[in-house]
Symmetry: C2
Subunit: 408 residues, 2 copies
């Protein structure tokens, strides 16, 4: 099955909004073994949208439209589908009842214009929207499928995953399995060297994606059936893990901080953080997941020498001798914050983020203190201030992750 | 002038990468008075790219291609432009010298495949790339313009702004002036009420864009000449500022933290931060701009009660009485951290971010302590953990901004 995705609206076309919806739908379709052949963005003008739908139907079996389903005159997607397919609109009583219930449940008055959201092309079906007023559309015509989804991501994503994808799967031949791995502590080129021939096969395929501070890996397997694809992917996963397992911290849409917090929670352990160059980035990440306060206690931001002495409890003379960016400073900060907050683990960072610096920009240290002592690591993280700071936060979290691994 | 933007490559088409380049170019063109009519994303396949270029030339006077200029066989943009326009490729000696110099300066060997990056359609020109190996292309054919830009944003943005935009301006009739304003401390609907009729005129137009915790405003004026457009925009700016001036913290691409740091630096003042619910977000923002350490000293992350007592120096009994989310706690934390780090200003946050909470999710406090005393504010910031945390960080920075304003 080949697919085209059309985003409707001036806001995306004029670049005021980045087309994240298009990327989401394209990635979901690709993972479901649908071949993406085209993405377009068109203005809120019916003639241009009709032309785009017609063009998409010439190259694709599936056309997914995003946006333009609201109640205003700018919302032209329903009419454009009707015009492009020759299936006139009619009022769908079930869809109308859904829209009316949405307003009734929220005790909000429903305007007359919302009625047009219940219009459906003849032969098509409305797709219920749990989170907004705009029903989606599903239309099968000339052995093709035309789907329309609402623009707000919070409405689009569940409608796509819960309603559209299951319907598409019934039409898809064969199976596809996608596994995403997240790695840390290893660069893309080293990872490629370690994976070697595994990167050159096409089915299953293994593809690295470099992100700031970490590399993600996509394993993709196609087969005649879904179970066969899952088995192929699982075998390739085992081969990948045998080569780079120690660098893989999770599968799917997980963050390093959420994995860390889960591990600490399972052990009933806690962590406190003392940050210099990262200036709050490590703490902000560790306090991001829900329930973080069971594990992350807090810490100190010791951005200046005075803060290192007063909050970090560093000896002023020793600090001058070793310098604020040193293995000694990282160790002392980790040690201090662990004791100050009575945490199982103390984690610390220091470094020269630049652009102006009294030392080598990109040079940085992390330290992890625990009951068995303290370890430090030296890092060289490039020359861009933003990247150095974010890579250092990642390096600190990874340092703690590996110490936990060893302590297991 | 009407424009179409074509992004080339499977990575964008399949949704692995969000098309931020397309949004960037579209926004820049819109600001320069070019009418965006189409955006497309096509695979790394020459026949499909040729078809997309031909289609774009039917609806637009300007076609901008993004990506596909590298040295590999997947990089098909040059050949596709040649095929679609009938202008065959030839080696451009100047472009070749540029590519060779790029490698020589970095003492890296240049492979034979990099030579093809110096191919230019007959009648076209190579655009020098200061930051990578791939020259861009500029081709005028049949009174239309075809431009090709490299895919890496760090190469694309300067080439577009420094080379392409000045050339386009020579072909554009009339003038357009765009002014972006950034506001904080006011919701979109209140802002709309205050601006009233200013939002309904079409030229100049004033358009709000709601972001997380702040609202941006775009003023856009079209006129027969650039000076006339600038004058119209300046007059509308004055009218807007007369109505909402106190909520505008900056123009253009500035952040609230960078404006705050500049103001503090001018006064030779410093700030220290004590964060509870924000967990490091305020400190991470204040340490983000280059040169932050002259102004931002550091502070404490007091995520748990124990941290509030040990790092925040809060009295344990009083903390139980008032609760960790209270005006009292915010005031005490701001006061403590100011004294602990001997800062001009102490800034503090506390709140219930949820989803599980011992109080009302979204309820939060900020406090600012200075030599003249301490002030606190109460906030209700919604029910989504991520949004509450980021809105609270914004509210804290805005609290300090306004206290500075009053202290002027």
């Amino acid at each position: 099955m080949k697919a085209a995705v059309i985003a409707v609206g001036n806001e995306v076309l004029f670049g005021d909004t980045v087309n994240t919806n298009g990327a989401f739908v394209a990635a979901e379709l690709t993972a479901a073994k649908v071949q993406m052949v085209l993405q377009t963005v068109v203005p809120d003008q019916i003639s241009q949208l009709v032309a785009a739908i017609s063009q998409a139907r010439r190259v694709a079996d599936l056309v997914v439209l995003i946006g333009g389903l609201g109640p205003t005159v700018d919302d032209i997607t329903r009419q454009a589908i009707a015009d492009a397919t020759g299936c006139p609109l009619q009022l769908d009583p079930t869809a109308l009842a859904d829209v009316e219930r949405y307003f009734a449940e929220r005790r909000r008055p429903m305007s007359q214009s919302n009625r047009q959201q219940a219009l459906v092309p003849v032969g098509g079906q409305a797709l219920a929207n749990q989170r907004g007023t705009a029903p989606g559309l599903w239309l099968e015509v000339d052995s093709q499928v035309v789907v329309a989804l609402p623009g707000p991501p919070i409405e689009l994503a569940p409608m796509f995953r819960e309603t559209v994808l299951p319907r598409l799967r019934q039409r898809l031949e064969g199976g596809r399995q996608v596994i995403w791995l997240r790695t840390s502590g290893i660069g893309e080129s080293t990872l490629q060297d370690m994976l070697g021939d595994l990167l050159t096969t096409t089915n299953p395929s293994v593809l690295p994606y470099a992100k700031l501070g970490e590399v993600h890996l996509r394993i993709l397997a196609d087969a005649a059936s879904q179970p066969a694809a899952e088995q192929m992917a699982a075998q390739r996963l085992a081969a990948v893990m045998a080569l780079i397992g120690p660098y893989v911290y999770g599968q799917g849409d997980v963050s390093l901080e959420s994995v860390l917090l889960d591990r600490l929670r399972q052990r009933q352990q806690t962590v406190a953080v003392s940050e210099s160059a990262t200036g709050g980035l490590i703490s902000a990440r560790l306090s991001d997941p829900a329930g973080a306060s069971q594990v992350f206690l807090g810490g100190s931001i010791v951005y200046t020498a005075s803060a290192k002495v007063h909050f970090g409890a560093l000896d002023a003379g020793e600090l001058r001798r070793h310098g604020p960016v040193s293995a000694w400073a990282a160790e002392e900060l980790a040690h201090s914050v662990r004791h100050q907050l009575d945490a199982t683990w103390g984690l610390a960072s220091c470094g020269w983020a630049g652009p102006e610096a009294d030392g080598e920009v990109g040079l940085a240290y992390t330290a992890v203190a625990g009951s068995a002592g303290v370890t430090w690591r030296e890092h060289r993280l490039g020359h861009n201030r933003h990247d150095v700071r974010h890579r250092l936060a990642q390096a600190a979290l990874w340092h703690l992750y590996q110490v936990l691994d060893e302590a297991e």
